[in-house]
């Protein structure tokens, strides 16, 4: 059941406020920032590998929690790691091992916080996809599956996520959700730093 829009936008607001600085840091991170403009192919490929090593464990944890609790979200359609593997394969790159064991997802609140980070990434992905199309000529088939996100369905799937969040994350769980989102983004930032210095 979909509740009225205002609690959702209030949750959205809370999550956005909590993660604003971290999102900005990631946006400016040397591994990712070239993707918003004129990245070279090696930069693009490095970002793909980093994204796999860092995101795959998170996606696995989220998937495991959803499977275990039988929640009404078709996560199979949202899993992006298979697409990322296809891109790596396209470039002939060996998939890197996981960079960490992933976030702890033990409650619905934590699930929504982590999903917010993962799903939110799809919108940014489209922005990157269009820039990389211009800069490197990538298309969905030519190394751009991961960043093409959900394609035309990106916006509607984003709205579906908020419906899900409204149902499973009541105001008393918001702090938990925000904490989970912040922790996940912090981990991303740290792991990207490691990637950068390696």
């Amino acid at each position: 059941m979909v509740v009225s829009g205002s609690p959702v936008s209030a949750l959205h607001h809370e999550l956005r406020r909590s993660t604003h600085r971290l999102h900005r840091d990631l946006d400016r991170h040397p591994v990712l920032s070239p993707l918003a403009g004129s990245a070279t192919l090696p930069q693009y490929q490095r970002a793909l590998r980093a994204m796999y090593a860092i995101t795959a464990p998170a996606e696995a944890r989220v998937g495991a929690y959803l499977d275990a609790h039988d929640l009404a979200l078709d996560y199979q359609a949202r899993r992006r790691m298979p697409r990322l593997l296809q891109d790596l394969e396209f470039y002939g790159l060996t998939p890197p091992g996981p960079a960490w064991s992933g976030p702890s997802v033990d409650t619905d609140g934590e699930l929504v916080g982590c999903l917010y980070v993962l799903e939110g990434g799809t919108r940014g992905s489209q922005f990157i996809f269009r820039r990389m199309t211009k800069a490197l000529g990538i298309t969905e088939e030519l190394g751009g599956r991961f960043f093409s996100g959900y394609g035309d369905r990106t916006e509607s799937m984003w709205q579906e996520f908020w419906s899900f969040a409204a149902e499973h994350c009541p105001p008393e769980s918001w702090a938990e959700a925000c904490q989970a989102a912040v922790t996940l983004l912090r981990s991303y930032r740290t792991l990207l730093d490691i990637v950068e210095s390696s």
């Binding site: 607001h13 956005r16 604003h20 999102h23 900005r24 946006d27 400016r28 918003a36 403009g37 004129s38 919108r123 940014g124 489209q126 922005f127 269009r130 820039r131 211009k134 800069a135 916006e155």
Partner: protein, 952 residues
């Protein structure tokens, strides 16, 4: 140098060589003895010794002093604190009570070489008590005057005090200038002697050796100029044969020249007190009396006390002046520092502070040279003259500072530069004159009131010219030219300090600011796109974040525009990267020009730009901005011979609806832009594309206008204008149309902007003018008298040769200029103040000028008054409202009233019905134009229309 001034200088040298310290005589007020310190025997005495001591010279010479004055006096003399050879005298009293019956004598003793010089005074009441009283009074007076900080006022107090103590008729305070000319700056006197206040005395009045003497011996007295000097016996030292040095002798006989000088001045007695400043003779207190006046010992003591007190005061005044000055110098340097920190450009800093620095040094021009580069400010000679001056200065490598208030005298090439460089103060900081400062002063013609003409006192005797003391001390005014105000010691000293520091500060700051500039440059490069110089996406994100914080704090809206150029890839691929770069630069300029000053425009990368519109007021404002950006972009562009019409897809995201962070807003704007782009995929806007496409996208309009001009596709239609009374034809307005081969009749707004964008203005207006004039000449026979034909001219069509182009068209067609009228919009007149001259030329030739769309612009009455206008065309928007709209009615009536007052006709545009016509007639409008009066007619029908009119 002319003969008279040569003679003057010769005489001066003569006077300066007079050995005034060894006159060999004393004043008759006392007696003098030279006594060997070792043997105490008397070696020399004045011829009047007997009058003073009661012992003849013969009896005294060679005898021990004790035999003359007794052992007790000799012992007291031995105990005197005599400081050494040639030091000021020390007073003592010779008492004779235990030796012989003789009154007490005041004595002054000092040492010269190995002898005592003992001076005894007749009738000296050695009244210690009186001395003490006077001393206390004088000290108190000095304390009181010590509060005074103005030198002239202080000197006045001192002159009063000295006269009071000494009882002289006149006491003058006298100050020396750099060249030792003196000026009376304060005076205290009774009516027995005339005033000399403000008078100048030439340096020759007190020759160099006298000045040297005055520094050593602070007080000189002459109690009677007519007293007969008394010689010494023997005249020279019996053992060494030298003349007695009387520099410190109180009774020293004065130079006969000086005595005559004093006589001529009307003085019988004189007292002169040296005023020193930091050990240098600063001035004198000179006292004169019309009668002989003995100056007792205690008064001399007081005078010396005053001299010393005043000298200390002068020193402190000078140091106060210096410290006040140095304070100003310091403040100036701090300010220079501050401004160098801000601007980093020496030129800028000197431009803003140069005036202040000059004021500080009392100069009117300055040059600071750093490492050979010169920074002039204020009034300075030409660079060539400076080159020569610096060469000359370099030759004279004797000193680091050179100052003169008469540059042309030392450096004749300076003559002719008196207006800016009569005075020069040069400070060099290295022998090669790479770093230096020059300070200039202009000529100050001085009228100097000399006390008598100093040059009229030369006597030519056998030894050459000699200065004869002048007989008149009346005012003799000399005009001095070619000189500046003299540089004072403190100015010279400060100029040295200031110059050094200035150059240090400027050089260091320049280095620091160079480093800062480099850092700023790096920062700039890191944050800006090198091609368009716009902020890059790093800076954009930063600025957008800041803007969002502001917007949120002030509860304002904000819009992010993501601008993506269409076809850029094609331009790049087909025309090459160089052309592509120029395309991007031009686009960036157009975008920048269409935004408000405060809006942020950045190059995101490639062919993408982002604009941030802050303080948004409603959606209309965003739409308006987007429309403006698109319109500006779509102006045709000529690139390397190719005509391109740029276009872009623009996506807008608003804060806070579409996102609250920079990233969200950018992503949202990008998403909208992408959708838009998908909707309208358009083709390459380069020559040869399909002309059936919409004009702003797919074909090159300007190129076609060009073709239209040559292929006679442009045509003119004429709309009649009528007199409102009697409806007689008053004029025709020529209207430009384009008979397009495929698109039919196009209006000017369809193609003129494109023509303008390609610089075809001149061609188009030239064609219109030539065609109108040719057609008028064809109709001349049938065109009623007074009917004019109007040509519309846009602001971009009036170039420098516009008037000539019009007159040439008129001449070429052989029509009367009175047939032609130029219509120009109010807005154009407002924007182009520079066209007034052209319009006046046309008006002078008889061509009428009408202001189109009158009432829609902001032309001021002052501008209107300057323009040779013959008609106001009231804009259609006001005519649409009449009758009925009271505001429009009022506007029409006001324009009519204004026109009436200025003697200008009125014409109503766009008149479409009877009611309007009637209202306008009632309001007093002169002429009408519009569908009601008559529609535009193709030119080939005008002739027939005119015939019909005539027949009607």
């Amino acid at each position: 140098m002319d003969t008279s001034s040569q003679a003057f200088h010769e005489a001066l040298r003569h006077c300066e060589s007079e050995p005034i310290h060894v006159p060999g005589r004393i004043q008759p007020d006392g007696a003098l003895m030279v006594v060997s310190i070792q043997t105490t025997r008397v070696l020399q005495v004045s011829a009047n010794l007997e009058q003073v001591l009661g012992i003849t010279p013969q009896a005294a010479l060679g005898r021990p002093l004790a035999a003359l004055v007794g052992d007790a006096n000799v012992q007291r003399l031995r105990d005197l604190p005599i400081r050494g050879d040639r030091q000021p005298s020390v007073p003592m009293i010779f008492r004779f009570d235990d030796h012989r019956a003789w009154p007490d004598l005041a004595a002054q003793v000092h040492r010269v070489d190995q002898d005592w010089v003992v001076e005894l005074e007749i009738g000296a009441e050695a009244d210690q008590r009186r001395l003490n009283q006077l001393l206390v009074a004088t000290r108190d007076a000095l304390w009181e005057s010590d509060q005074e900080t103005d030198i002239a006022r202080y000197c006045q107090l001192i002159a009063d005090q000295v006269r009071d103590v000494t009882g002289f008729d006149r006491a003058l305070a006298y100050r020396f200038d750099q060249d030792w000319n003196g000026e009376v700056i304060a005076e205290s006197r009774n009516d027995r002697l005339p005033s000399l206040l403000g008078h100048h005395f030439p340096a020759s009045d007190i020759p160099a050796q006298a000045r040297r003497l005055y520094v050593r011996n602070l007080v000189r007295v002459l109690s009677d100029v007519d007293g007969t000097p008394v010689p010494l016996i023997p005249a020279t030292h019996p053992e060494t044969g030298v003349d007695l040095d009387m520099s410190f002798a109180v009774l020293r006989s004065m130079s006969p020249i000086h005595v005559r000088y004093l006589r001529n001045m009307g003085a019988r007695a004189t007292l002169s007190i040296s005023l020193l400043q930091s050990g240098r003779l600063w001035g004198l207190i000179a006292c004169h009396h019309t009668e002989p006046l003995r100056v007792p010992f205690e008064v001399r003591e007081l005078a010396e006390f005053i001299a010393k007190s005043v000298s200390i005061k002068l020193g402190s005044l000078e140091s106060a002046e210096r410290s006040a000055f140095m304070q100003q110098v310091q403040e100036t340097l701090v300010e220079i520092n501050r401004r160098m920190g801000r601007s980093g450009d020496i030129g800028d800093v000197l431009a803003s502070l140069g005036g202040h620095i000059l004021e500080l040094l009392g100069a009117t021009g300055g040059i600071i040279a750093i490492g050979g580069r010169r920074y002039p400010f204020g009034r300075v000679p030409t660079p060539e003259k400076i080159d020569m001056l610096v060469d000359w200065l370099r030759e004279r490598s004797d000193s680091d500072t050179l100052h003169t208030d008469h540059l042309a005298a030392a450096y004749p090439l300076a003559s002719g530069c008196e207006d800016c460089a009569s005075g020069l103060l040069a400070v060099r900081l290295d022998p090669d004159y790479k770093n230096y400062t020059l300070w200039f002063r202009p000529e100050r013609v001085r009228a100097i009131p000399w006390a008598g003409n100093p040059e009229k006192s030369l006597v030519d005797d056998r030894d050459g010219y000699r200065l004869e003391p002048r007989r008149s001390f009346g005012r003799w005014v000399e005009e001095q030219r070619g000189c500046s105000l003299p540089w004072t010691a403190i100015q010279i000293e400060s100029a040295q300090a200031l110059s050094l520091t200035l150059i240090e500060v400027l050089t260091q700051k320049a280095l620091i600011s160079e480093a800062k500039r480099a850092e700023a440059r790096l920062n700039y490069l890191a944050n800006h796109d090198h091609l368009t110089q716009l902020p890059n996406r790093l800076l954009l994100k930063e600025e957008l974040e800041k803007a969002l914080v502001h917007a949120e704090a002030r509860n304002e809206e904000l819009a992010v525009l993501f601008i993506d150029l269409d076809h850029f890839k094609s331009v790049n691929d087909k025309l090459g990267h160089l052309v592509g770069d120029r395309y991007l630069q031009e686009v960036a300029e157009r975008l920048r020009a269409s935004l408000r000053h405060n809006d942020l425009l950045a190059r995101w990368g490639g062919d993408e730009f982002v604009a941030v519109i802050e303080r948004l007021r409603g959606d209309e404002a965003v739409e308006e901005t987007v429309t403006r950006l698109s319109a500006q972009l779509r102006r045709p562009m000529q690139l390397d011979g190719h005509h391109v019409i740029p276009s872009a897809s623009i996506g807008v995201a608003r804060f806070p609806e579409d996102g609250t962070t920079a990233v969200e807003l950018l992503q949202a704007a990008d998403a909208v832009m992408y959708q838009q782009k998908e909707k309208r995929r358009t083709d390459l806007p380069i020559d040869g594309a399909d002309p059936n496409e919409p004009p702003h996208v797919s074909f090159e309009m300007g190129w076609q206008v060009n073709r239209a001009l040559t292929e006679s596709e442009l045509v003119l239609h004429y709309q009649p204008q009528y007199q409102i009374d009697g409806r007689k034809l008053a004029g025709l307005e020529a209207l430009l149309r384009w008979q397009h081969p495929t698109r039919g009749l196009l209006m000017p707004h369809d193609f003129l902007p494109a023509a303008e964008g390609l610089g075809l203005n001149r061609e188009v207006v030239g064609w219109v003018l030539a065609t109108v004039c040719r057609q008028v000449s064809e109709w001349e026979a049938i065109l009623p008298a007074g009917v004019t034909v109007a040509v519309n001219v846009g602001p971009g069509q009036i170039d420098r040769d516009f008037a000539e182009t019009v007159l040439e068209s008129v001449r070429a067609a052989g029509v009367s200029p009175a047939r032609l009228s130029i219509e120009i919009t109010e807005e154009a007149l407002e924007r182009r103040a520079d066209v007034v001259a052209s319009l006046q030329t046309l008006a002078a030739a008889g061509i009428a000028l009408a202001v189109d769309d009158f009432g829609t612009g902001y032309l001021s009455l002052a501008q209107l008054r300057e323009l040779p206008i013959s008609c106001f065309k009231i804009d259609k928007q006001f005519i649409d409202g009449v009758p009925g709209d009271t505001r429009d009615e009022a506007i029409v009536r006001s324009v009519v009233a204004l026109a009436g007052g200025l003697g200008v006709r009125t014409l109503a545009e766009g008149v479409e019905n009877q009611a309007q016509f009637e209202f306008l007639r009632g309001a007093g409008v002169d002429r009408v134009q519009g569908y009601y009066a008559g529609r535009p007619i193709p030119s080939d029908e005008v002739f027939r229309h005119l015939i019909e009119q005539r027949n009607a």
